[in-house]
């Protein structure tokens, strides 16, 4: 019987130095799929590689042989001696392999639990394998179940809820304060990767206008152009607070650039419309005491990190629900996989034909009103008929031809006669 085997390494087992040496590009993947598929022991193969993991998923008749083949190809293709990564490799078989791929796709095995990219990466890897025709009945089914399970976990648990990056956390907070961000005005003071990322998220949420203030006006102009906003002089900042709603600050200033008194004086002019300060700078730009003013909210980088920690904790709680869904999925996959065995399929096929024949005979006899001996004769005929019908399929299914892989025929048989209902 063909078995499912998974061989790989990830961020938990291998340091980044090894992972980057073994990362497989799309072109390499195609060549490697072909090479592994050529091996007599491997029937099907799918492989995927992200910055955190390399995984080779196979359906193979000879487990040990398949594992050796995969290791050898990985080592040869990447030109890394096996001894260097031998210890980082994990191998899962059967149910454990199924569980592993489910967990990876659902992002339960990710460095950041719940991150959404991994599912797309696996889909792409599977697409490549289908293009190279290295994936067959078993892995096709397994990957479709994988996508289904991952989607189910994403919708039924809160694993992807709540931001776990600083800029997303800031946007979520802004939404809790303002409801909709549409039509809001944003002031970016200074520059910096996190601050600019936050502005980009805000733009996606269709804020109305972006102002950029920078000590070097020229830099401000450039940044403003990038966001389609307008640059203002650094000295104008207090005046602009009168009209903006969200202030993102990320300057290198050693001192506070906005004090509580400054903001307090401005609030009546704003008619107390809420103001949200996101202070990403270290040392801080915004006086933390501003948070005490009515309708003004200040979050600095530590506050945002606190929010993220809380969210991560929630995700880990949700991950437990995810594990339960995976347990179910593993069991249901196993049922299908076991049905690929020859004997149960033959028995199921015989039973199906038998039940149809019996039902039809009963119906006919009911109408004809015949004797007991005639009835026995009819039943004998039925059994003979079934044996004759079953002869060729049984022979084919039991034959160990077709590269030792008759799962295709078994699968087709089950589908043709709808034996899985």
């Amino acid at each position: 019987m063909v078995e499912i085997i998974l061989l790989g390494l990830n961020h938990k087992t291998a340091p980044v130095e090894i992972r980057e040496c073994l990362a497989i590009s799309k072109e390499e993947a195609a060549a490697m799929l072909d090479a592994i598929k050529k091996s007599a022991s491997v029937n099907e193969v799918v492989l995927f590689s992200t910055c955190n993991r390399v995984e080779i998923l196979m359906a193979a008749g000879d487990k040990a042989e398949a594992v050796e083949t995969a290791k050898r190809h990985l080592s040869e293709f990447k030109n890394v001696p096996l001894s260097q990564f031998q210890d980082s490799i994990y191998i899962h078989e059967g149910d454990e392999a199924v569980r592993h791929i489910f967990r990876v796709a659902s992002s339960l095995d990710s460095m950041m639990v719940g991150e959404p990219q991994i599912l797309g990466q696996i889909k792409e890897a599977y697409f490549n394998a289908t293009k190279r025709k290295t994936s067959g009945v078993i892995l096709n089914r397994l990957l479709h179940r994988t996508f289904f399970t991952a989607k189910r976990i994403r919708t039924e648990t809160g694993i992807g809820d709540n931001a776990v990056s600083v800029s997303y956390a800031a946007i979520e907070l802004a939404k809790k304060i303002f409801g909709q961000l549409e039509g809001k005005k944003v002031l970016l003071i200074g520059a910096g990767e996190m601050a600019e990322l936050a502005v980009e998220h805000l733009l996606k949420n269709r804020v109305k206008e972006i102002f950029v203030a920078n000590r070097t006006f020229k830099n401000g102009v450039e940044l403003a152009r990038k966001f389609g906003g307008s640059a203002i002089k650094f000295e104008e900042v207090p005046g602009f607070i009168l009209q903006v709603d969200i202030i993102i600050s990320s300057t290198g200033s050693p001192d506070i650039i906005l004090t509580k008194d400054q903001v307090k004086r401005i609030m009546p002019g704003r008619r107390n419309r809420p103001l949200f300060f996101i202070d990403i700078a270290v040392p801080r730009d915004i006086d933390p005491a501003i948070n005490k003013l009515n309708n003004a909210y200040v979050y600095d980088i530590d506050d945002l990190k606190g929010v993220i920690d809380e969210n991560l904790e929630d995700r880990n709680k949700e991950a437990i629900k995810g594990e339960r869904i995976i347990d179910e999925a593993v069991i249901s996959f196993k049922q299908w996989y076991d049905s690929l065995d020859v004997v149960p399929t033959i028995v199921a096929l015989r039973n199906k034909i038998d039940s149809i024949a019996t039902a039809e005979i009963e119906r006919t006899m009911h109408a004809l009103n015949i004797t007991e001996s005639e009835r026995e004769a009819l039943y004998r005929m039925k059994n003979a008929l079934i044996n004759k019908i079953m002869h060729n399929p049984t022979h084919l299914l039991k034959r160990d031809g077709c590269h030792g892989n008759n799962s295709v025929y078994i699968d087709v048989t089950r589908k043709l006669f709808n034996l899985d209902e």
Partner: protein, 272 residues
């Protein structure tokens, strides 16, 4: 009709359970359950009021039993109206609980027989009563929204998100809902007072008679007028507005019940 009030109470209580479970577990079907029970309860409640009206030809606010029944009806009805526009789902628990409390209390207070007086047959009285009750129900909702606002603001300012932060809607939505409740309540209260004056003039020959209920209604009106004025001129919003809504409702409660129990006046008989 005794059976119907039991059914109504029961439906409101079930609705409260549904809405409150929704608040805790955040499952959409629990919200639906709360909604369906509240709607059915509201229907039964309306039938009861209609029945009383058909029987006597008067709005049934002649004793505490009837008054509470109409109060529960007004709270449920006003909640539905605001829910349609603002969708503050978590408010359901508060509204359903309030409606349930009113109707259950009404069930426990026996209805005293009140002599049918012809002075109660006036269109002015009907408008007066309906707008006052509905207006007060709107104030009750404003108070609930205010409480939610304060809880949410504490979560955001305190930077410890947790139970409330996730469950409550945005500050902006709560603030504008509260404002809408107060604006509606104030409009209805104004209509209620004016029709009350006209009715008083037609029955007793004078607009204003320094009846304690009248005085306290006047105080309520001035208070809410001040809240709205503050919002429109100097921007009283956010936490300040939320606190005002809660204080305002405390005054409403006193005007509505306190005056009748503690002070005397021509409204007294209706709520004893």
């Amino acid at each position: 009709m005794d059976n119907l009030i039991t059914v109504t109470s029961f439906l409101y209580v079930l609705s409260s359970v549904g809405y409150i479970s929704y608040f805790f577990f955040q499952k959409e079907y629990l919200h639906r359950i709360g909604q369906v029970f509240l709607a059915t309860g509201f229907l039964c409640n309306s039938i009861m009021i209609g029945y009383y009206y058909a029987k006597t030809g008067q709005i049934p606010v002649r004793n505490l039993h009837e008054t509470l029944l109409v109060t529960g009806w007004a709270v449920a009805g006003v909640f539905f109206a605001f829910q349609y526009k603002f969708k503050v789902k978590v408010l359901g628990g508060y509204a359903a609980l309030l409606a349930a409390a009113c109707v259950v209390a009404s069930f426990l207070v026996p209805g005293k027989i009140v002599e049918t007086q012809t002075i109660f047959n006036s269109i002015w009285l009907i408008v007066h009563v309906v707008s006052i009750f509905v207006g007060h129900a709107a104030f009750a909702l404003a108070c609930g929204v205010g409480l939610l606002y304060i809880a949410q603001e504490n979560a955001i300012k305190g930077k410890k998100h947790g139970f409330f932060y996730k469950r409550l809607p945005s500050l902006d939505l709560l603030d504008s809902t509260g404002y809408a409740c107060i604006a509606t309540g104030f409009t209805l209260l104004t209509i209620g007072l004016i029709t009350g004056f006209i009715y008083a003039k037609s029955v007793w020959g004078r607009f204003w008679s320094w009846d304690p209920k009248e005085v306290w209604s006047g105080i309520t009106w001035l208070l809410y007028a001040a809240i709205l004025h503050g919002r429109l001129t100097v921007g009283w919003r956010g936490k300040k507005a939320a606190v005002m809504a809660i204080i305002g409702f405390a005054v409403v409660l006193f005007t509505f019940f306190g005056v009748n129990f503690l002070l005397k006046g021509h409204h007294g008989i209706f709520t004893r």
